[in-house]
């Protein structure tokens, strides 16, 4: 999996490309927690090019969202393919994670 990190007006954006599973989730966890340790409080995860996610990926997103919340930060998720979004729904995560349609919607929410 490829992770592209960008910073746009103080928001850390992570663009995920490929498959987020138990094989690749550790690398993602490291990057996202590095950003939290560096003081990032605003984050967007862009799912546009993410083909696949398993519970290992959900775990990292849950953990990071909790950590950010403790720091009074905020995380937005955007641009999911329907079947990726369905995984969040089956897990019940759509009730407390903030999932929006497009990157513009995500940026405007800050």
């Amino acid at each position: 999996m490829e992770i592209i990190e960008e910073n746009q007006s103080g928001i850390n954006i992570f663009k995920l490309n490929g498959r987020l599973d138990s094989n690749t989730s550790q690398g993602f966890e490291k990057k996202i927690f590095q950003a939290i340790d560096d003081g990032s409080k605003s984050m967007i995860i862009d799912f546009k090019d993410l083909e696949y996610i398993s519970s290992a990926g959900l775990r990292v997103i849950l953990k990071a969202t909790k950590a950010l919340k403790r720091e009074e930060g905020k995380m937005m998720l955007c641009d999911m393919q329907d079947y990726v979004k369905e995984v969040f729904e089956i897990a019940g995560f759509d009730s407390f994670l903030r999932i929006v349609g497009t990157m513009d919607d995500a940026i405007q929410s800050f």
């Binding site: 094989n23 519970s55 019940g92 407390f96």
Partner: protein, 150 residues
């Protein structure tokens, strides 16, 4: 004609998830499954496989997990066999899905996903092996299409 059955062996390491995905995609495409159906089958098998290799073995040896996928009468049937410690995923409690973010725990979530994406999940312990049989109904709108030339 597309074969309606495929069997393969996976080693007990996480990098084998890619091998699992490749086999599944090749088989799924050969019988004309939709990308969504391949995705769901992949996720269910991934969660069960990851669970087996994470919790299933109490030694450091390399083990083999055998997977068979077959297609018959609008059903996909998956068989997963491992020689790990006895474990019945059908008995795992569903996590509390109504919880708040603070209460939310990740344990049991993978198995919950797998059960949701399959229509049937059966477990047997036989000859010191865990045998999981999963069934997924596929819609009639997804038959293997033959390409016609000319």
């Amino acid at each position: 004609m597309a074969k309606n059955k495929v069997s393969f062996k996976l080693k007990s390491k996480l990098s084998e998830l890619d091998t699992l995905c490749q086999h599944l995609e090749r088989f799924g495409q050969s019988i004309g499954l939709s990308p969504k159906c391949i995705f769901e089958a992949n996720l269910a098998l991934d969660e069960l496989f990851t669970n087996i290799i994470t919790y299933g073995f109490d030694d450091k040896k390399e083990h083999t997990i055998e997977v068979t996928i077959s297609h018959q009468n609008n059903k996909l049937i998956f068989n997963i066999e491992d020689d790990g410690i006895p474990f019945n995923p059908t008995k795992v409690d569903t996590p509390d899905l109504e919880c708040t973010i603070e209460e939310c725990k990740i344990g049991g979530l993978g198995i919950h996903l797998a059960k949701n994406l399959m229509d049937e999940v059966c477990y047997q312990r036989c000859k010191k092996k865990n045998i999981l049989t999963l069934k997924k109904n596929i819609k009639e709108a997804e038959p293997a299409k033959k390409r016609m030339k000319g």
